[in-house]
Subunit: 164 residues, 2 copies
DNA sequence: TTTAATGTGTTATATTATAACATTAAGGTG
DNA sequence: CACCTTAATGTTATAATATAACACATTAAA
C-alpha cells in the first residue's frame, strides 16, 4: 500500500555522512542547472539542517550560523531558509515551526512528513497517490489545489511506544 | 471519489445564521455530555469564529473579545482557544497560524482543510479514506500515527482563478 | 462552608518572523 | 576593463504569535 519505494531513511540506521554528502551534491547540481548561487550562508544553512534528521527552529539554525562565523541577525537565516525552501531543498514543518533538509532534493515530490514525537526525527515520505486523491476530491468540490501540507505526528519504529 | 457526503459549506451560499446556531447548539450539547463548562469567554470566542468561515488569528479574536467587554490580554484568548481545540470545537490551521470553528463538532473526523487563498474561506472536508490510507502507509514503515495535519491551499469554486 | 479543582486576571517575557533601507558583491555588456 | 544592473547581505527596528508563572475568584463537591 506504500506509495513509493521509500526506506524511511530518517528512522533507519544509515551512513549519515554519505546521506548528507549526497544531498549537498544534489543541491549543488540543481543550483548549477538553475543558475542559482549557493552562497556560503545558504550552503552552511543547508549543512546545518543536514546534520541530523531532526527539524530545527530558525533561531537554532541562526545560532549555529553565528558560531560558524556568519551573522546573528534573524534576516540572515530567514533569507537563507527562504531561498532553500523556494527551491525545495528545505521544508518547513508547519505544525512545529521548524525546518528540515530535503534528503533527495532531485526526486522530491508530494511529500508527507512523519514526525516522531519521541526522538524528533522527521522522515519524508513521498505519497503521490494520496496527494492526487486529495486534490481530486477537492477538485470535485470545485476547489483547485495549489499546495498541500501533510504532516503526521506519531512514534517511529525505533522509539518505544508510550507506557500506559 | 469524494470520501464523504459533504457540501463544502464554506464555499457555498447558505443560511449562515442557521449554520452558526446549529454549531453552537451542538457545542452546548457536547459540553453538557462531557460535563464541561462553556463559560462566557469560551462561548463568545466560539461565536466570534463562527461569524464567518474565514480563519482568524488569535489576536484578531482577542480584539473582538475586548470589544465585547472581555479582557484584552493574550492568555485570555489562548486559553479559550486551547479549550475549544482540545474539544475539537475549533481547529487551528497550522500553515496560517489561524483558527476556524468546526461547523459540525458532533460529526467531525479526519478533517482536511481547504483554504481558498483568494477569499480566505476555509472548508472542512472529512477524508477518512485518505486519512486511513496515510496512517496505513506510515504503519507499514513502522510509524504509529497519533495525529495528522492536512491542509490544502488553492482557489475555491466561487473565486476567479488568477489571471495569467 | 470548607475544600479541591477549575477558570480567570495580570505581568512579564519567549518565540517566530518580517519590513525597510543601507551597503556590498557578482555577473553581464560595451 | 569600467560600468551598470541585479542579487545578496548587513543592520535596525519592530511585528506577530504564544506561553510561563503566580495571584485571585468562582464552582461543585464533600
Amino acid at each position: 500500500m506504500a506509495d513509493s519505494n521509500s526506506n524511511v531513511l530518517a528512522f533507519t540506521k544509515h551512513d549519515h555522512r554519505r546521506c548528507k554528502n549526497a544531498a549537498i551534491k544534489a543541491v549543488e547540481l540543481l543550483c548549477e542547472e538553475r543558475k542559482l548561487r549557493l552562497t556560503p550562508v545558504r550552503r552552511r544553512t543547508l549543512e546545518i539542517l543536514l546534520e541530523s534528521h531532526i527539524a530545527l527552529g530558525a533561531y537554532e539554525v541562526l545560532e549555529k550560523l553565528a558560531k560558524a562565523g556568519f551573522g546573528e541577525k534573524p534576516p540572515l537565516v530567514y533569507r537563507a531558509l527562504g531561498f532553500l525552501m523556494e527551491q525545495g531543498f528545505v521544508h518547513k514543518l508547519e505544525k512545529l515551526n521548524a525546518y528540515v533538509a530535503c534528503v533527495e532534493p532531485n526526486r522530491c515530490a508530494h511529500p508527507c512528513f512523519l514526525v516522531c514525537k519521541q526522538c524528533g526525527r522527521v522522515a519524508e515520505q513521498s505519497v503521490p497517490k494520496v496527494s492526487k486523491q486529495l486534490a481530486a476530491t477537492a477538485q470535485q468540490l470545485g476547489f483547485s489545489t495549489a499546495t498541500s501540507v501533510m504532516e503526521l505526528s506519531g512514534v517511529c519504529a525505533q522509539c518505544p511506544t508510550e507506557k500506559s
